[in-house]
């Protein structure tokens, strides 16, 4: 049997995603990709993968996965609970923001995602799945991507590219990633001239709330209506993730990764790339507001963010137990080959 993770209990909605399917929008093909690209990049870094490799994006409640491989290294980034079930042992919680090395037969129960729309799980070496149009992102609406472009289903085997975990200790991020706070930053336009002065001022000062219609395609926002100067309709033109379009009812829609490639509503502003991960993490009921920056400012913010991400990845270090005793250094790798892995088991306090 080829190495795999097998879905033994289905969660609510999990899809394979990478950083998006670019290059086919001229055919009307949406980009899709991870709603929280920062989580995917960091999860990949934790297991030693290139940052853009495809991982599992988990919304609401994750699946339970059985390790059908000699071993596998995994890492989750995001607000998700995880439990490891290993034969003959009590279930133990696994923390996100660090890697864990699992053994054949282990069951990884991915639990509730709470505090953001999604969390990301990466596996060392990635999944052995065939890209569709150059990408492993899943566009569920049209069934495009690996697994027929659909979410995970009961019994799915996710083939692993690596037949076993890499050498070396498990590692951790010293801190969870900092997504920033405050208003989402936007560049006005491309059609800001299709709105009244009052609407622009309202857009940049009012409090909005994510409505109940929120999915991978976009977030309908609730707040004061934004008045158009004339019609809300324009000749359909290209959209990006982060475009904020305003239909005739004046209620903005913040477009996310599964957005259609072109649309005919005037767009008041665009969320800057450095804030897209924050936007992708929003859930129904979340409050948000907007602040305008120039393209040049957006570029500078993005450069600083990339430096910060490089810093976080550079600070990834071998896992240290909560007690402060560096068991890794004390015992070295030679003592941890038994069935009870006190260093890599993932509990906060080793069972000494």
């Amino acid at each position: 049997m080829t190495p795999a993770l097998t879905v033994v209990r289905l969660g609510l909605f999990a899809t394979i995603q990478d950083l998006g399917r670019f290059g086919f929008q001229e055919l009307g093909m949406p980009v899709a990709g991870a709603l929280d690209p920062l989580a995917l990049r960091l999860a990949n870094a934790l297991v030693g993968n290139p940052q853009g490799m495809a991982g599992l994006e988990i919304a609401l409640l994750g699946p339970a996965l059985r390790v059908d491989a000699p071993s596998v290294r995994i890492a989750a980034v995001g607000p998700i609970t995880m439990t490891l079930e290993r034969a003959g042992e009590a279930p133990q919680p696994l923390a996100p923001h660090r890697s864990h090395t699992l053994q054949r037969g282990d069951i990884l129960r991915l639990g509730a995602v709470d505090g953001a729309s999604v969390a990301c799980l990466a596996v060392a070496g990635g999944f052995d799945l065939a890209p569709v149009m150059g990408s492993l992102s899943s566009y569920v609406r049209a069934g495009i991507g690996p697994l027929g472009g659909r979410p995970l289903a009961q019994g799915d085997r996710l083939p692993l590219a690596r037949d076993g975990a890499p050498d070396g200790p498990d590692v951790e991020l010293p801190q969870p990633p900092d997504y920033g706070a405050g208003p989402l930053r936007v560049v006005p336009g491309p059609q800001e001239d299709r709105f009244t002065e009052a609407a622009l001022a309202t857009f940049l000062s009012a409090a909005f709330r994510v409505g109940s219609q929120a999915d991978r395609m976009g977030l309908r926002l609730e707040g004061p209506a934004l008045e158009h100067r004339g019609s809300a309709d324009i000749p359909s033109d290209g959209l990006v993730t982060g475009s904020i379009q305003v239909p005739g009812n004046g209620q903005p829609i913040l477009l996310l990764n599964d957005h259609q490639t072109a649309g005919g509503y005037a767009k008041i502003a665009t969320v800057i790339s450095a804030d897209l991960a924050r936007a992708g993490r929003l859930r129904p009921g979340d409050a948000l507001s907007f602040r305008a920056v120039t393209v040049e400012e957006a570029e500078a913010i993005r450069r600083r963010q990339e430096q910060a991400i490089a810093g976080w990845i550079g600070a990834i270090r071998p896992v240290r137990p909560a007690s402060g005793v560096d068991l890794e250094a004390l015992y070295g790798e030679n003592l941890i080959s038994g069935t009870v892995d006190i260093v890599h088991g993932g509990s906060d306090l080793p069972l000494l």
Partner: protein
């Protein structure tokens, strides 16, 4: 005509050639699209042609707006690469009432008979201005002026895949079952999107399309052979 640059954040900008949906503006869009595709500036991710503007998508880590806009301005000034001549297609359509549930109502609203609507729809060669809305959805024009009618006020929640529809001066074939607000006048048995094909999307911007009325028997036959994977899309090319 003045070219206008507008911002879509820090990952894209639009190059606009006027406000109108017309062939001249679209030809400039497609020419710039072809040039940038043939010689992509460093950091270009892709370009997305629409009716009268080109979305230029770039990687803001690899490049920046200033450099990318300068490269696009140079491509605009440079000439050179002309868009390839689009392909010509003949797409069969069955206009039976159950497959085109809006045909009678549309004909009434236009003061025409259903037969005349069908005849007019089949009388023109349509230009694929752009794809969008969903993979493979082509915005084709121009519909004869006699058929000009705004979108339905109440969009449908479920439009069957293959539905042939009109709105304004445009016509389309829905590649997928989806919501939709256009008037449904018939059904095309040829999948506009088929993941099993080497090129899953049938149409491309710049292609030309004619519709041929077919009867129900032929519609069923083509549907069957398409379902079985026997339909060669090239058989629909009009090379004459």
């Amino acid at each position: 005509m003045e070219v206008r640059f507008t911002s879509s954040g820090d990952t894209a900008f639009n190059v606009e050639f006027g406000e109108a949906i017309d062939r001249a503006a679209n030809a400039r869009v497609m020419a710039l699209h072809a040039r940038l595709k043939a010689a992509p500036p460093p950091g270009l991710v892709e370009t997305v042609p629409t009716f009268r503007s080109l979305l230029v998508v770039y990687d803001p880590v690899a490049t920046g707006r200033r450099e990318m806009q300068a490269a696009v301005e140079a491509a605009l000034a440079g000439g050179g690469e002309a868009p390839a001549e689009g392909r010509r297609w003949r797409l069969p359509v069955c206009y039976d009432p159950d497959l085109g549930p809006d045909l009678a109502e549309l004909a009434d609203a236009l003061g025409l008979t259903a037969e005349r609507v069908v005849e007019l729809h089949g009388s023109a060669e349509y230009f694929v201005y752009m794809l969008g809305f969903m993979p493979g959805f082509g915005y084709m024009g121009d519909l004869p002026a006699e058929l000009d009618r705004p979108r339905r006020t109440e969009p449908r929640v479920r439009v069957p895949a293959g539905s042939v529809a009109v709105a304004g001066r445009l016509t389309t074939v829905y590649p997928w079952e989806s919501p939709g607000g256009w008037h449904l006048i018939g059904r095309c048995p040829v999948p506009l999107y088929d993941g099993a094909r080497r090129d899953p999307v049938l149409l491309a911007a710049g292609d030309r399309v004619r519709f041929d009325a077919i009867d129900r028997d032929l519609f069923d036959m083509i549907t069957e052979s398409a379902d079985a994977g026997y339909l060669d899309p090239d058989s629909l090319r009009d090379v004459g």
